[in-house]
Symmetry: C2
Subunit: 358 residues, 2 copies
């Protein structure tokens, strides 16, 4: 990290975003409100964020020369996804401030590193887990961790992809092979009562702001609905999130996903070093939205309010769900957010709605 | 108007906006939320709206060939200012739907036509007035209308420019010459208690939605503060606004500015056939904002909610006011909207803030 870290960027400064999907798009919209100019770096020109940004630079994420040129053209760089190659982040950091910090990327990219960091550096509970580098490890993990485990690839899994639940030695060994015989992690299966998350931000002077606890409902391993506030105690989850932010010397918005057990206790499932789908409700809840919060954090601004003025539920519109736009537009309590994607595909995130529920 | 008038545009359609200032910018941001693509037409490439639009087309407003090409590239055309040349609107209307309708432009461009239309076609009260085409008319107007009149150019006046208050025959005649000896209108001076406005929209199927009455405070003839709701009766002003919308067979957002007298009665000062500075508070009041309302109206969508969830005041940031960005960013009740203008000039509208006040 270079020493621009503690500077505050004035309106008119240029924010570079790696990734031009819906998260990059909503970051660009928020940046514009604060008077910033946004440049998007994306492998293709036709992307959701390009429609609302001042400039689109087309390049591969591993094209170091192109990334360096991009880094030199912006005042701060951020990203919308955690799989930015480490060499890319490294190359950029030498030329401009990059937030969230590289250590957060590296931590979030590997489920084993992530779990280890959360448990041992941040001191926050995670599911009991074990490294799985071969079939025998898979079997051993089941014996050590209990009756039922989840084997996940250490890298690149998302939306339930790259993981299997197993209960027998044979299934454990088969799962390792099915997952491609790549480095994996085994975790004790957690019979959680519900999935919750905290979205929070830390800026370069160390200010922290956290939204209340969010309750999340998944369908087919993809987020379907997020509701906030939850009418339950936010404190423990917020406290854990703050520990993680501080342990990473983090700058930007982070989402921490938790499993909540029947007794109310929580353990971390995973972290996302970026704005997050479970924080989209913030766009219409009367507080600072998570995209603006992220822009404020990475530009050194004060963070704004994370206290919603009413209860909101966010519902993802996947694939053909977006075809219902006209009936959604008729509901006075619904706020529409479409992502400008022309190609409707099954399961693709096309937009979301926020509905005020109290 | 062509027969596309009653069609409903789906997300992904292209909206063309004449004018790339802050109003065009905020229209583009709202259009993006609904999944529309925005093209901006502006005399220069470096304009606030270009930073957040998919395309910027550079051309003069009276370049008919360029306007025609622009009209052919979009699904609907609108504008951010009422001084679009009539020939330009005429040329575009032949090639794509243009909203608000040309008659609204023509009516609003000429204070005499405007007053005549409001009083005689819409049946809504305005200040007693008289045409002034020469010095003798100016003197005669004073004799007919009373002790104190305002002489205004019929065209191109804004923010108090192009008008003079006079109380004597000599001053009346001098004012006409000072204003350039161009066609003018004289209006009886109205000792108003306050200035209020209504922002409302009508879509192509005739649905109408109006925000509550807004109270406006001007400084040096430029809007300083708008507050809504006002704790006073909205009904009469909304009813007058609806009459005007209907008389013009209007489509889009319109603002109607009123003088309110000490007895509570109101008369129309002027209309703006576009989104309006006194409606900027809608961006952070929990209802559909005026920019989205306009996009919904011109694309044939249902209009959404115009009922604010709390009281908000909007304060314009002129010139150096914007330098206070850091202290503004610290106030949790303040929402910032900067316009991306790099060049700070005295009196120039650089941004605004919305502050929740209850």
């Amino acid at each position: 990290m270079n020493n621009s870290k503690t500077s505050i960027l004035a309106p008119g400064s240029i924010i570079g975003i790696l990734g031009g999907g819906q998260l990059g798009r909503m970051l660009a919209l928020a940046a514009a409100r604060l008077g910033f100019i946004t440049y998007i770096y994306n492998p293709s020109a036709n992307c959701p964020a390009a429609q609302v940004a001042a400039k689109i630079i087309v390049g591969a994420y591993d094209d170091i020369a192109a990334i360096q040129k991009f880094a030199q053209s912006v005042d701060v760089m951020t990203y919308e996804f955690e799989n930015v190659p480490s060499a890319t982040a490294e190359a950029a950091v030498a030329l401009c401030p990059v937030f969230p910090p590289k250590i957060a990327l590296e931590t979030a990219q590997d489920r084993m590193t992530e779990k280890d960091f959360i448990a041992n550096k941040a001191g926050v509970p995670v599911a009991p887990n074990h490294t799985v580098d071969n079939e025998f490890d898979a079997k051993r993990a089941l014996n050590i961790l209990g009756d039922k485990i989840v084997i996940k690839t250490r890298r690149m899994g998302y939306d339930g992809k790259g993981q299997q639940i197993v209960e027998t030695d044979d299934a454990a060994m088969a799962a390792f092979k099915d997952l491609g015989s790549v480095p994996c992690i085994a975790e004790k299966f957690i019979p959680f009562a519900r999935e919750v998350s905290v979205v929070a931000a830390r800026n370069s002077v160390g200010d922290i702001a956290a939204y209340p606890l969010i309750e999340n409902e998944h369908r087919n391993h993809i987020l379907h609905k997020s509701t906030c506030p939850t009418h339950s105690d936010d404190g423990q989850a917020q406290a854990y999130t703050i520990k993680i932010l501080q342990a990473l010397d983090y700058v930007g918005v982070m989402a921490v996903e938790f499993f909540q057990l029947a007794d109310g206790s929580i353990i971390v499932n995973e972290i996302a070093p970026r704005v997050h789908n479970s924080g989209h409700w913030t766009m219409d809840a009367g507080c600072t939205d998570q995209f603006e919060l992220h822009i404020r954090a990475i530009t050194g601004w004060p963070l704004g309010s994370t206290q919603p003025l009413y209860r909101t539920e966010m519902i993802n519109l996947l694939g053909d769900d977006v075809q219902d736009w006209l009936s959604l537009a008729k509901d006075p309590n619904v706020k529409i957010h479409f992502y400008g994607k022309s190609d409707i595909r099954k399961g693709r995130k096309m937009g979301h709605i926020n509905r005020r529920v109290s």
